[in-house]
Symmetry: C2
Subunit: 154 residues, 2 copies
DNA sequence: ATCCTTATTGCAAAAAACTGCAATAAGGAT
DNA sequence: ATCCTTATTGCAGTTTTTTGCAATAAGGAT
């Protein structure tokens, strides 16, 4: 109820329509534990909605983002991926292993507010990903450096 | 000289090779006033290097980013675009008109350092784009809201 | 229940990105 | 100057993403 009701309200008010495609895709995003690419959503959605097109998935995902129901992110794959927008957050993503650390938006709030004020700019809901190396992969890097050093010395 | 010398040093040291393709693409990035997409680079590069392939442009651009000579960014087009890495910076980009404001990295340094410390994470050189509305486009939005309000009231 | 407007979808085709593999060419060694 | 190793490129083909347009269907009105 609350899901459907929310959807109805959010969309109808603005003149948008509720379709089976949107319901299915939204449902898939709800189930998902993390970000999903259009391709992944498409494959899952086909099961419940045989006729569905990949084109529609792309457009629906982008639509949901526009309306504010979903948020796009660029993960380590480099491809766009979507997730439902619950609490605002950002990510630290490891370039080696893909491990993701979630950072609550509050951590960025002060800086963002300052940037808005200083630049007469009104920030939208951003969902950023900062790349780097996680704890483990940093260690591995040290190891390989040592090894390389030893090799050269031989 | 300094350009070529830099290039030689940066690449040869690590076992990479200097090729005409890399030189041309790098040269194009140097001329560019702002971020260029692979497609744009390709079109410009073809002039000086007829045989060049689009594939090579993609790979070279990504290569230059890996080596740290270039940096990727996701502009308002949503497509990846590259630029040379001079002083570290980030962007505030308007979703309406595409206007870009450059923010020096220093503005982010403190927060980033804190995030690294708090999460045992080692951030790479990130180049982020925050979307929103520029001064002008914010005003335009107000106007259209007013108009809409009036229309409904009629 | 039926009609109407038009937002949304599917389809077909294009553009953009990515891959595997064999041919090419840097650049260090002789 | 010639040879050799292998990093890099081009080519052909695949996958991913985007676009134009006609057909479809949501949902307000009658
Ligand atoms: Mn997220
Ligand atoms: Mn930039
Ligand atoms: Zn890692
Ligand atoms: Zn603007």
């Amino acid at each position: 109820m609350s899901c459907e009701a929310d959807l109805a309200k959010t969309l109808r008010e603005r003149g948008y329509r509720i379709t089976s495609q949107r319901r299915v895709i939204l449902h898939i995003l709800r189930q998902a534990s993390d970000h999903l690419t259009p391709g992944e959503v498409f494959r899952q959605a086909q099961a419940s909605l045989p006729g569905l097109t990949e084109t529609t998935v792309y457009r629906t995902l982008e639509f949901l983002a526009q309306v504010g129901l979903a948020h796009a992110a660029f993960g380590s794959s480099g491809k766009r991926a979507y997730e439902l927008s619950e609490h605002a957050h950002h990510h630290l993503t490891c370039r080696k292993c893909g491990h993701e650390i979630e950072i609550p938006h509050e951590r960025f709030a002060a800086l963002f507010a300052a940037l808005e004020a200083e630049n007469d700019f009104s920030l939208a809901h951003n969902h950023i990903t900062l790349f780097g190396l996680c704890k483990n992969c940093q260690r591995e890097n040290e190891f390989s450096s040592e090894e390389q050093g030893r090799r050269k010395a031989d």
